[in-house]
Structures are given as structure tokens and as C-alpha cells.
Symmetry: C2
Subunit: 687 residues, 2 copies
């Protein structure tokens, strides 16, 4: 049990050990010692703050009481925290030293002590107080008659100072309230950087007062007003979260060029891109007007975004339009710029100078790291196997070259991989070849939520709960690596996200009700528990299957990564094929029986429709393979017909329909082979 | 079938008659003639607009295509409307004459014609276009292979020009996005006035730049910035909806007095009210400072709210603090003001003058209607039997006295009455004693959503779907009064609200998951289908059971009016007790069997808790009465034990637990008596 890091292992602490297995804290604290008593939560529960009740603490304590009340149904006498001079003998006492600054390496630590008579929180900053309250909420327990907090002492602090989530609002726009609820959850899992990907080929989402055509022509009317941006930045700040804005240049800039074609590298007109991928439109780095417009824009944005860092994108510029442009070719020759990469650096340095005037440091995707790029820039490491390089290799390179750096490779949550895939990515493994100084430049990581296939209906389900596991990777000790334990805790964390308005559970039903036209969704719901959207970049092959305005209300949109029964079924199949455990066999049979009935249930739907009919083959094949497997399991002598059917069906199921993969397929295959081999005879085969 | 109003009854029209029964349009159009063909919806579906694509039309058409795509899963080639000069042969052609004004008696009519080859919309204003598109969306049908619109001709226009929804954001604050989604739905059922109840004893929700203490001290930090107000007003305007703000004075003003006690009628300090009801704090109408502060505030608001009307509240001022204040008594004597009512009128006239300077007309709750009040004021009729007067009697009084007037009595949706109760309220029945001129002063009505017991988690479920039935009352002919037909259509309308983000269905599950601590919610879900929150003012007796920050995550909050199985069960019981219909009996038995198992299911929940245990008696009693009734039904000879048990349980169930009433109780009672009497013998009794 590596999660409990004792400094002094005492009998007292060991008493708490077994109990701690039941705790569903995430991210797991650096040090936790459980007692064996608890403190009951009564209507008289009160909170005092020993220093000024800052806006952060006001919001955090009020929301804490509200959430505690909402969960327990307790009618608290007091809905707000008191100043210490107003009340004696509070249940929860909060003390902190100063207001936290929103900058890297700020002190975010806290100490939480729950005794049988009192709870105390101590922190250096009010941001630490927020995190302590979140941990405390994760500790609520109950029996039949009462709710209580367990006796516990926690010393906690983050492993990395940069624990980010990027949301792409360009490919699909996400309104302010969607961002706000995600900021709430970020704070609840102790994440502290919201990277706001505000512009791309498919949209420019910032109201510009100096160059209003940017949002007027580049956004389809879907942009944030400057007041809304301030609102989001303030909301984040109130939760201890920094906001790093991104304006992606010189590529990924079709929306900018739709408004200002004159700063493009090709003499043409542009229109907002509706597909996904890497496109040719590129800003002209040799045109002074480019720097005028970006300079004005950056100036406006510098006033809106107080953070030290400003993300200029810089990724995936292939320079095709540069190569085609004689003027740009001449410019390169004249200035002895020998590659497009260096031309981009030329531009980046110009932008860096503009931003420096506004007191900002440049952050950019790893492509900005060239020899001439000043080491004040922060390198955002993103490339990996999908791009033909070693995963996150730029991270260590950057650190060695003197750049601060942040890792996103391995944290691309839009790719719909299981939480475990991300969980095992360690930005800074213990055994590395970096010096202490170099290691210190690895600030942390960022989960990236690209929105090509995601509208606000499904955004939450693409971010959560998996990003909570990533948050743990960024916050907790690298010793915390037990995947099974992570999944166990993630289940509770996931459910609790609903308290903060996250829609990942409830919107699945909404989508299925829509698909069924308000009929019984049970058959489809069962399928979503064993199906996942196509992974990596396979759902939208070539970026042309879906447009911005295509329907994202399909069966694949109701599915998500880590399909719940896929995980459970896998365990039983693993166990059964390894040990022939009879109980596992029983469980397997229960699932197969349920699935074998799926198509019958599906056929009960009275109102048929095209959208429903597309799902029919999936339901039918799942039912048939399950029926076939049951038949094989139940028959003493294997029927050749079953084996042939099974082979055929397993083959058929390999070809995805309705943009999902059947996540139990591998286990069905394994089971099929195992049972046939087990029952022996000439029908045994290798798949 | 009164819904179809033919001007020319042709064979063609009659062919469509039976088909129209399947239409789920709400509000029902003034004239509709169905054909017997249809037009298929293909990926090539295109929309053209023959005039300027106004912002209203841009939003409405884009959203129309998106919703159509979302429902059908069709990948449209074009996600936006075109100008007529850009494309030939569009599927849907839109023509209108001018931009609609947001004022009373504006032309909101439209004509919608669906032929087998083309759809056309014609309207005077772009607001009419919005409504036509909403009607068209309600017409979407499908078979197994295609989606289509039925051939139809609709001429439609509203019966009343004022079709309002009031939302109280003072008792509980509702953020901008909650309002926006409700504005979307308002437009979808052709409502056009959002009455924003912005201040009350429990909160002052407007950012004031002239008197910032108002929102700083009067709102717990929960208020709308002026930018957010502009945003909401613009959002409403884009959907053809007027916004009427309300600042409730001189009573219901504790929050104002918390900030500015110097304009109170009692020399004391005030603090934001946490309970519900009628409270004593009252502005001092004899203090010039009162008019300075309100004058400044109204000035700020006049700039934010373009609507002609400004609601000054004026309700439920009992003048207790006036009576206790010598200075005020002297003022009354000096100015020969003989009653508190007339003192309030004195104040209202002052306010009316202030608002007139800003070009605004006064609207106020019916108490403002006194002899001296100018007839330019709009009278908001709200009192009824709950207040000891005839329902809405002030409406006709106001009209006769020369005031324009709007009805809210009968439309108090916070009281959790069934939709039918509101549906049958007719603001202006045909047989009335009003002149044509007087009748014309009855502008329409407003559903009022008071928020004492409603947070944003449950707000939607308190407003919808019932308000769609009220919207029909305000829009459609008074001939449209078939309650059963309304309920039939309301079911589809209700389901479709999810498309606009309304949470009434999905948040019920969220609440139940919270109560069960993420266990199987089936047992509780079944109970929500037969339980409704306590009605009228019984849930929060005396206004002191709940505070602002009490938990509104309880079982009662998962329930809503018009519990679905309550309505169905009632039909079967009505039918069975009237006709002894065997099929109804079978259905009744099916329900009783399900309910008799509820407590067993409930007991299967492994994680018990106090919040869950409170619901146990309800589950137990429901199960027991169902079991008892089944026993009586199934036994040839009635057992005295069953009869006694039944009587006892039915009595027990009359006492509400967990703030809900068992909506099937009356039917269970009826069934009990009927069966016993049917089976005869000495056990027969009257309940």
C-alpha cells in the first residue's frame, strides 16, 4: 500500500491503514495518517476563519457548506463562515498566512487535521485552504444514522507546480458556463492552470476591439466578449487557477485570415474551416501588418489575462504557402533564413518582443524550440508516437537546453484512451539523466481537450473523470501508481462530479433518449457500457467525416472511454482464463445472458428510425456472439456450427459500426478460444 | 376535434384530419390544414432567406439546422442559411417584411407552408420567422427509413400579446446560463416576455454602479454584472423576447435596506433575510434619500433594459414599520394621506415620475392600483383564493378602470399544481362583461416562478413542462381546451426540451444518485413517478422550515408536479371503477405488483444513510398498501386483516413524509372502497 507515506509508523497509524483503503481521495495526499475515531457532522457545524475572509475563502467555505448540506440533507444553522472574532468553538477552524499569488511555484500546501472534537486547516495561502476543503469533502463518510469525518492528519503539497487542462474552444465553441463548471472541478482535483485554446482554423473566439473583424468574421458569432473573458479569468482566480490564453499562429490561423486575408501568405480569400486537420493557410511573417494586428490583439489580451505566460501556439506549420510565395522566398534569402522553421522562429522572436513589452513570457508548442529561441520561452511538449517521434521527447530536450517545459504528450484526452494510459505517464521519472536544475524546469503537465468531435453536450464526458487521474499524476507522489486503486477511487470521484454540475453521466441518457425518440433506453444504455468511441484519430479519418456542424448526438457520443462493464468483464475473463475460477465463470455467464438479450430488447422499441436502425447491427451482433458463447459454454460437446458462427461473428465485430469499438471484443475472443481449447478436440484454433 | 380550425373544409383538409392527431405542436396554431403527402429531409436540405439575414434569423436558422441534424443524425451539407441571391432551389425559403420591434401588440404572425417539394415561411417580422421555425421543428416525423415534414399549411398568430414568464432570482440566484436556456425554451413555445424579479428580501441581484453597496452587501456575492444583464437582454431580444425588470418596493426590500438602512422606516440595522414570507422591513416613502437612491438605480437600469415597462413590485406591504414610525405618521397627517395604501400610492407616483423621465411606464403588482394611480400603469393581477379573494378579480377591475393589465393568478407554477390547473385558467373568457376597449386592455398573462424552494438544480423542473401548457393558453385560441390532448402533446414537448438543455428530466436522476450515494436508483425513481412535492404553501409552512441555504437536494426535489404514473394510474382506476374493464384491472394489478416490491428493492441498497432512511417509511407504506390491495383483489373472500391493514395504511399515507404527497393515494382509496364494496359483505365502508 504505497499510498500511505508514513514518516513515523506508529500503532496508531497502522490502525488507520486498513481503513484508509476505503478513502476515495484523489489526488492522493503526500502524507496521510488515519486515526480510528471520527467527528460527527451536526446542524451546528460552523466554520471560522482566523484571518480575513478573502473572496477565495468566502466562495470556498460557502460552497463547502452547501455541498456538505446537499450531500447529507443536513439543515445547517449557518450557511456561511464566520470571522474568528465573531464566534467561539467552531467545528472547523481555518488559518492561513497570505493571499496566494497566481504564478508558478506558489505555495499550495495545506495541513488538515481532523480530531474527534475539531477540524483544523492550516495553509500558507488561501489557495491551500481551497485544496484542504476539497480534500475534506472527499473524506465525508456515513453510517446508517450519521455523517462524519474520519480522524486524520494530512500534510499535502503538489509534486508539480503546473497542473493544467487545455480546452479547445475553436473547433467547437464552449460557452462560459461550461468553462466555469470545468474550472470548479479542476479546483476540486487541485488543478491550477486553465489553458484556453482560443483560436484555430475553425474559429477565432475573442472579441477584439482593435480589430473587430477578427471575431465578427472569424467566429460564426460564437466568441467571448471581453467582459466574459474577464469573468472567466476572475472565476478561475477565485479558485486558485491561472488562465493561459492561446492564439495559435502562424498556422492554424484560417479564422484570422478569414477576417484579414491581407496578412496571409497566399493572395486569396479565406473562409472559416469546417473540417479537421492541418491546413495550409498561414500568416505572413514577412508582412509588418501581421505584427501590427497581432500586436494590437496581444495588447488587448494582455490587459485581460494577468498571467505571466501567453501561448502563441506555433504547431503544425508546414509552410506550404510560404514556399509558394516569392516575396517570402526573397525575404528568407535577404535575411539569410535557411528554413521555414527558422522563418517561424524569426516570427516567434518578434512576437516574443511584443509580448515582453506587455510583461508576458512566451509559451508555445514544441515546434517553437529552435536554436535562436530565447530560453525565457516555455516549451509545450506534445508530440509522440502518433507524430512519429518518441513520446514527449522534447520535454527533456527543452529542460536540458534551459527552457522551462510542460508535458502534454500522453495526456491527449480527446483521443478517448483509458484513464490508465494517461495515468502511467510520468513527466519526470526518478531515474533520469537530468541535473537537479534541469529537472526543476519540468514544471508539470497539461491534459489537452481538443474539440473537433466534441460539443458542449459531450465535452464533460470527454474530460471527466479521466482528467482526475491525470490530476493525481500531476499532484501526487510518483509512488502512487496502482492502476486498480486509481480506478476504484475514480468511480466515486466521477459520481461526485455531478455535484459540481458536470454532465458526463446525465447527458449520456439525454443522447440516448434523443436517439430512441423518448423510448426505453435500456438496450442502448447496456451497449454504451461495453462500447467506446473510436480511439486516437480513427473516428474522423482524414478529418473529413465530420464537419463542425455535423451531428454529435450519435451513439458514439453517448459512449465514452473506460466503458464501465468493459472493465469489469475484463477482470472476470482474465481471472477465469487464468484460474478457471467458478465464480468468475458465473459472472461471465450473467453478462453473456444480459447481452444475448440485447437485440430482443432493441426490437421492442416501437418507434423505429434511421438513426436507430444504424445501431441495430451492433445490438444484433453483440446478442448473437453472446448467445453463441453461452451455447458453447453450456454444451458438453462443442457444436461445429457454434464455432463457425463464433468465428464469423468475432470477425464481423472487428469492423466498427456507428463509430464505436466493442470494448469487450478482445475478451470475447479470448474466452472463445479458451473455452474451445478447454473443451478440446479438433475445433481448437488460434485466432 | 376543435384544434383544427378550417376556413374551407375540403376533402383535402379532411384527409389530413386524422393524421393531425399525431401532431405534437404546442402551442396549437390558429389555423392548420394538413395534406396527405410529405417532404423528406435529406443531407441536401438548404435554407434561404429572401431578405437580410438579421441576427435573429441567423441564430434561429443555424440553431434550426443544428437541432434538425441532432435529432435525425443527418449530416447536412450546409450548416447555415444562405441569402437568396447565393443559391437557387432551397428546401426552405424564408421571407419577411421587417425587423420585429420588442413592444406590445407587435405583429408576431407567420405562415408556414410545407409542400411535397418545398417549404416556405412568410412573416411580417423576423420574430414571426422564429416562431415558424419552432413550429416546423415540432412537425418533424419519421418512419423506419426517413425523416420528413408533413404537407401542411399553417396560419398562426397569438391570442395575447403578453406571454410572460417571471423568474425570481432573489430567493435563490440563478446564473446567466440558466436564464439563457429558459429563454431558448420560452421562444420555442412562443413566449415573449421575461419578467426578471431581481430584488427581494433575500437578495438584491443587480450590480449598481451608483450605489454599489446594494449588490455588495445585499447579494452574498450573487448578482448580475451590468454586462451580464446586457447579455441576457440581448439574448432575449435575439429570440423575440422582451425583458421587464422588477425592483420590488417598498416592501420585499430587506436586501436594499441591508445596504442602505438609512432609507428604512425603522431605525435599525438589517440583514439579508434567510427565511420566506412577508417581512416588516419597508422603505421610507417620506425620505427624499429613498428617491435619490432609487432614482439613480432606476436610471442605471433604464439604460440596461430597453423595454417600455419597468416593474416596481409593490406587493404585500403591510406598513407595520410605517405605523411604528412617528415621522411617517406626521408626514401622512401633513399631506392628508389617510391610509398606508395611499402612502404607497404617493410613493408609486413619485417613482412613476422618475421612470417617466427615463421613458418608462410603471408596471406593478395589483396593490399599486389605487384611485390616484395614473392609468398609464400596468396592473399585474396576482391575488386569488390563497389570498382570500376571487381568483384574478383585479384583472377585470383594472381593465374597467382603464389600466392595461396582465394575469398571473392561476399561473403560480411554484405551487406545484398540475398543468391542467393552469391550463383551464382563461384570462378573457368569451362571455364577459367587458367592452371591446376594456377587453383589449387585458394584454395576456405571466407564469410566475418564485424561487424560495428552488435552486438552479431544480428550477427547470418547476417551470417545465407545465409552462408550455400555459404558453398555449396565452397563444392559442380559447377553443383549445382539451386537457387530455394537452397532456398527450405535453409529453413530447417535455422530452424535446432536453434538446435546449433543460434539465428537468436528467437532474431528477442526479438528485437520486446523490441520495443513494451512487447506488441503483430504481426504487426511488419509481417513487418519484407517484409522488409530488407538497403543493400550494404547505412544503415550507410559515416560511421557516427552509432557509435560503437549506438542502434542496432532497427526495421532494427529485419529484415534480404531474407525476407520470400518477396520471396513468388514475386513468385505469377511473376506468375500472366506472366500467369494471378487465384490461384496466390488469394494468392496475401490474402497477400494484411493481409498487408492492418497492420496499424490497429499497432494502437492497447496501449503503444506508440518514438521508436515505428518511424515505424508508414512504417506500414501506407504498409497498404494504399495494400488497394489501393485491391480496384483497386476489382473494375470493375478503380478509378482515387486509381491510384493517388497508384502512390503517391509507390513513398513515395521508400524513406526508419527506415533503411529498403520494399522488396515487386518492386512487388507492377509491380502489380499496370499490373492491371491498364490489366483493360485498360486512366489510364495506366509506372512507
Amino acid at each position: 500500500m504505497k499510498k500511505i507515506l508514513f514518516f513515523f509508523i506508529s500503532l496508531y497509524a497502522i490502525a488507520g491503514w486498513s481503513q484508509s483503503k476505503e478513502l476515495n481521495i484523489m489526488p492522493w495526499p503526500q502524507e496521510i495518517v488515519l486515526g480510528n475515531s471520527n467527528i460527527e457532522i451536526s446542524p451546528k457545524f460552523t466554520v471560522v476563519v482566523h484571518q480575513e475572509i478573502t473572496k477565495r475563502i468566502d466562495i470556498a467555505t460557502t460552497k463547502f457548506i452547501q455541498r456538505l448540506s446537499g450531500r447529507t440533507g443536513i439543515f445547517f444553522e449557518n450557511g456561511f463562515a464566520f470571522n474568528a472574532n465573531k464566534i467561539k468553538n467552531a467545528t472547523l477552524e481555518i488559518a492561513y498566512k497570505r493571499i496566494g499569488k497566481l504564478e508558478i511555484n506558489e505555495d499550495e500546501s495545506y495541513q488538515l487535521h481532523v480530531s474527534p472534537t475539531k477540524i483544523s486547516i492550516e495553509a500558507t495561502t488561501d489557495i491551500g485552504v481551497i485544496y484542504a476543503l476539497e480534500t475534506l469533502l472527499q473524506l465525508v463518510e456515513n453510517n446508517e444514522t450519521a455523517y462524519f469525518f474520519p480522524e486524520v492528519t494530512i500534510h499535502d503539497f503538489p509534486r508539480f507546480t503546473w497542473r493544467g487542462l487545455m480546452i479547445d474552444v475553436a473547433r467547437h465553441f464552449h460557452p462560459v458556463d461550461v468553462l466555469k463548471r470545468n474550472l470548479d472541478v479542476m479546483a476540486s482535483v487541485k488543478m491550477n492552470v486553465f489553458h484556453w485554446h482560443l483560436t484555430d482554423d475553425q474559429g477565432f473566439r475573442i472579441e477584439s476591439k482593435t480589430h473587430p473583424k477578427l471575431h465578427q468574421l472569424g467566429s460564426d458569432g460564437l466568441y467571448y466578449t471581453q467582459e466574459q473573458i474577464k469573468e472567466v479569468v476572475q472565476y478561475a482566480s477565485d479558485r486558485g487557477i491561472r488562465v493561459v490564453p492561446e492564439v495559435d499562429v502562424p498556422g492554424h490561423a484560417t479564422a484570422i485570415l478569414t477576417a484579414y486575408p491581407e496578412i496571409g501568405s497566399k493572395d486569396t480569400t479565406y473562409s472559416i474551416e469546417r473540417f479537421s486537420g492541418i491546413f495550409d493557410p498561414t500568416l505572413d511573417p514577412t508582412n509588418e501588418r501581421t505584427y501590427e494586428i497581432l500586436g494590437d490583439l496581444f495588447g488587448e489580451m494582455a490587459a485581460l489575462f494577468p498571467d505571466q505566460y501567453f501561448h502563441i501556439g506555433g504547431d503544425e506549420n508546414e509552410g506550404k504557402h510560404w514556399d509558394e510565395n516569392l516575396k517570402i522566398q526573397e525575404f528568407k534569402k535577404k535575411h539569410a533564413i535557411d528554413s521555414n522553421h527558422n522563418l517561424q522562429t524569426f516570427m516567434n522572436i518578434r512576437l516574443e518582443e511584443i509580448l515582453a513589452k506587455h510583461g508576458k513570457l512566451v509559451m508555445g508548442w514544441e515546434e517553437i524550440m529552435t536554436d535562436k529561441m530565447p530560453t525565457s520561452a516555455l516549451i509545450h511538449s506534445w508530440k509522440g508516437v502518433n507524430e512519429g517521434v518518441e513520446g514527449g521527447s522534447s520535454l527533456f530536450n527543452a529542460a536540458k537546453k534551459g527552457y522551462k517545459t510542460v508535458l502534454s504528450n500522453g495526456f491527449y484526452i480527446d483521443l478517448m484512451q483509458p484513464a490508465s494510459d494517461h495515468y502511467i505517464v510520468n513527466p519526470l521519472p526518478k531515474n533520469n539523466n537530468l541535473t537537479v536544475e534541469e529537472s526543476a524546469r519540468i514544471l508539470g503537465g497539461e491534459a489537452t481537450m481538443w474539440s473537433e468531435l466534441t460539443t458542449s453536450l459531450t465535452l464533460d464526458s470527454r474530460i471527466w473523470p479521466r482528467t482526475a487521474a491525470i490530476a493525481e499524476r500531476f499532484w501526487s507522489s510518483e509512488e502512487i501508481i496502482d492502476v486498480a486503486d486509481m480506478y476504484k477511487r475514480l468511480e466515486t470521484v466521477s459520481f461526485r462530479l455531478e455535484e459540481l454540475g458536470i454532465t458526463h453521466i446525465k447527458n449520456r441518457d439525454v443522447i440516448l433518449r434523443n436517439i430512441t425518440n423518448n423510448q426505453n433506453i435500456a438496450a442502448l444504455l447496456d451497449l454504451t457500457k461495453i462500447c467506446e468511441p473510436l480511439k486516437i484519430y480513427t473516428r474522423n479519418s482524414g478529418g473529413t467525416e465530420y464537419k463542425t456542424f455535423s451531428p454529435f448526438t450519435l451513439f458514439a457520443d453517448a459512449c465514452s472511454a473506460d466503458a464501465s462493464e468493459g472493465i469489469i468483464f475484463n477482470k472476470f475473463v482474465e481471472n477465469y482464463t487464468a484460474t478457471k475460477n467458478e465464480n468468475s465463470k458465473k459472472e461471465i455467464i450473467t453478462y453473456l445472458k444480459k447481452w444475448s438479450n440485447n437485440y430482443n430488447q432493441f426490437l421492442l422499441l416501437e418507434k423505429k428510425s434511421p438513426i436507430l436502425n444504424e445501431i441495430a447491427p451492433l445490438s444484433k451482433n453483440v446478442a448473437e456472439i453472446s448467445t453463441t458463447l453461452l451455447s458453447i459454454i453450456n454444451s458438453k460437446k462443442i457444436k461445429a456450427e457454434d464455432v463457425n458462427n463464433g468465428k464469423e461473428l468475432l470477425l464481423k465485430l472487428q469492423k466498427p459500426v456507428v463509430d464505436v469499438e466493442l470494448i469487450i471484443l478482445e475478451d470475447l475472443n479470448k474466452l472463445f478460444i479458451f473455452i474451445i481449447n478447454e473443451k478440446g478436440g479438433k475445433n481448437s484454433f488460434k485466432n
